[in-house]
């Protein structure tokens, strides 16, 4: 594919992600931080996010499977996940975490389980989307082009 086409595709894809609520303005900020001195910033942050989140999700699954659920621990994990997702701009995940926390306060196991499922779902979605985006970016860069951040603002 041509660079220009790829770039256009990238712009479209990113905009759709914002539109559909997978990502919010925070992700834009991250993208702004990527420059020549820091060319892989976004990719690094995103991969770190994936690692963190997977760990947290498995911890959460384990914690909620216990006979007596330690809600404090669960809350702490969710808090971490919320922090990560909001730092990266994963909006849906963040919102799910907020709901999750309120169920934790109520100590509602079923509610928590449901939220956990929701979070996992949204996480998988946003993960695949971000991975696709990163791949696209890498392709553009490999083809010699640059990522057209400016066009996102229109």
């Amino acid at each position: 594919m041509e660079v220009v086409q790829m770039q256009r595709a990238w712009v479209e894809y990113t905009k759709s992600l914002f539109r559909e609520g997978f990502l919010d303005a925070q992700f834009q900020q991250l993208q702004l931080l990527q420059d020549e001195s820091n060319p892989d910033f976004v990719a690094e942050v995103v991969s770190l996010f994936f690692e963190d989140s997977e760990r947290l999700l498995s911890d959460l699954t384990f914690a909620l499977e216990q006979q007596s659920v330690d809600f404090k621990k669960v809350d702490a994990h969710v808090h971490q996940l919320k922090g990560s997702s909001s730092s990266i701009g994963a909006q849906r995940v963040k919102n799910d975490c907020i709901a999750f926390r309120s169920f934790c306060e109520e100590q509602n196991i079923e509610g928590c389980q449901r939220c956990l499922q929701q979070v996992k779902q949204d996480y998988c979605l946003v993960k695949s989307k971000l991975e696709a985006l990163i791949r696209l970016e890498q392709q553009i860069v490999a083809a010699g082009g640059s990522i057209p951040m400016e066009e996102l603002s229109c």
Partner: protein, 737 residues
Amino acid sequence: MESCNCIEPQWPAEELLMKYQYISDFFIALAYFSIPLELIYFVKKSAVFPYRWVLVQFGAFIVLCGATHLISLWTFSMHSRTVAVVMTISKVLTAVVSCATALMLVHIIPDLLSVKTRELFLKNKAAELDREMGLIRTQEETGRHVRMLTHEIRSTLDRHTILKTTLVELGRTLVLEECALWMPTRTGLELQLSYTLRQQNPVGYTVPIQLPVINQVFSSNRAMKISPNSPVARIRPFAGKYMPGEVVAVRVPLLHLSNFQINDWPELSTRRYALMVLMLPSDSARQWHVHELELVEVVADQVAVALSHAAILEESMRARDLLMDQNVALDHARREAETAIRARNDFLAVMNHEMRTPMHAIIALSSLLQETELTPEQRLMVETILKSSNLLATLINDVLDLSRLEDGSLQLDLGTFNLHALFREVLNLIKPIASVKKLHVTLNLAPDLPECVVGDEKRLMQTILNVVGNALKFSKEGSISITAFVAKSESLRDSRAPDFFPVPSDDHFYLRVQVKDAGQGVNPQEIPKLFTKFAQTQTLATRNSSGSGLGLAICKRFVNLMEGHIWIESEGLGKGCTVIFIVKLCIPGRSNESKSPFLPKANHGQAGFPGLKVLVLDYNGVSRMVTKGLLVHLGCDVTTVSSIDECLHVVSQEHKVLFMDVCMPDGFEAAVRLHEKFTKHHERPLIVALTGNTDKVTKENCMRVGMDGVILKPVSVDKMRSVLSDLLEHRVLFEAM
């Protein structure tokens, strides 16, 4: 009857003699037997008898004697050989024992005699000790009384109570009939009976102080016996039958407050004594004992001390009351003054506006009128109006300025200006007037006078203009010279300004300006008055001149504000005068205005913060990375830590800002520990909390632990930039939540 070989006494013919001997022997024997029994009986009864052995011996001796006599009873008649043998044995034994006893007694009897003398000796000793015991007991009693008396006397600080208590207690302790205190009167020539024990209100008996008996008592600090007939002792009518009791008098030093010196009390510093007279009950055989006299002396001393304390207390109470009154009065005066000042300020504020507005109108309109077509008379009239109103405006300004100066509310407007240019402008301003009056004006600026200086340009100009204007005003002819140079330390010390010790230094210097004219001069005696406001020198010439007399006063205030000094030298009327003033000016560029190490720009949006060392503390890896990315993008030198301990380990004075996520547990504790680690405020990095919580509680908690700022996540690049700018400029940032 058979006769035997043994010798046997013939039965004497005198039977009576025999019978008597028989009976006596019997009784002797009886006595001899009973004596030891008695001895044993009594010795057993007594507890101590050291010579039991002797007693036994003695007993044996007596018993044997008795036995001998007893046996001899049988020898009066025919007796058998047995009896004779027994008799012989007993006699032999008796002889032995009696010799032994006799020998023993030689040793014993001296001892026994000496026991007796020792006993006598001990008895005497015991009697003596008894006497001494009695004495000591009396002394101890006395001591106790003294202590008790002292305690009573010293337990109060009221003069009358002290004296009354003294008399009462003394009377009780010593069982006195009467006790009296004579105090010296105001004049010091008489002693007045002030307190007595028995009489409730002693009528004012007085005795002259120069009586010999009184002198005698006053001359020594011992208690002395005086005659009961002396005037001081004849207080009450003599009620007894035989003899009035003995009287003792002692002096009580009255310490005057100002003479109360620790070292020479009580000998030297007092001349006034009171007299205490104590009388024993009449008709008793009592006499004054030594220990009682001593007690009296001690009490007198204590009374003196107690009285002096009471006097001191009275004095201090009086002083305190006086001070309180003065305080009240001062307070009142201060409030009145404040009211007056407020009233004046209000008045001035009103005047300021109210007077200037019409003045302005008058001046403006008159000058406008001047521009129109006017007849010569009209022009003259308008010019007069203009001149008068200008004068009035100047007067108003002067008065208002002066009052502000006196208030101390005037502050110099410091700014950088060109000193040379200022002088030149002054010259330009006065040249027209000078040429009209045909006065020649010269300006001399020293070559080392700096061009650019920092000071209050407007007021300096005002001062110079005023001084030069005065020179012009009071000169009819001749020349006026203005000289300005940098004052050196020697010239700074002036005999006319003895308290003025300016010290030049690197960033400031002292400008000295001299304005000399050849005008009418000033009477040297009037010089001090010149700087007083509204005072005018009342000479013929000056009465025609304008001026309210405020000019120099204002100049003086300005010069003082500029930490300088102004004075006039003149040799007399008609000899011209020189006005000299020295003011302090600063040299720009070398002043120590501190600039903060981070360029404080009023506008936000610094391009970057190159090299700014920042520490980021966040448990969450993603969040940490994002914040780091933000700051790196802005050019900071970022270190990240993921725990409080690591943070405290890594943080140093070089880190200027610490961003901390407070959603993590113990976020606040970290702030506290950081405060502990950096005791000096400027060494500590600024602590900024990053939080996603929008509630007030979080913000308050942050402020409570001493954080310098709180920012809401998410943070955009622009926001971070402006945050850093604000932070570094103001050192605090609390975002509105």
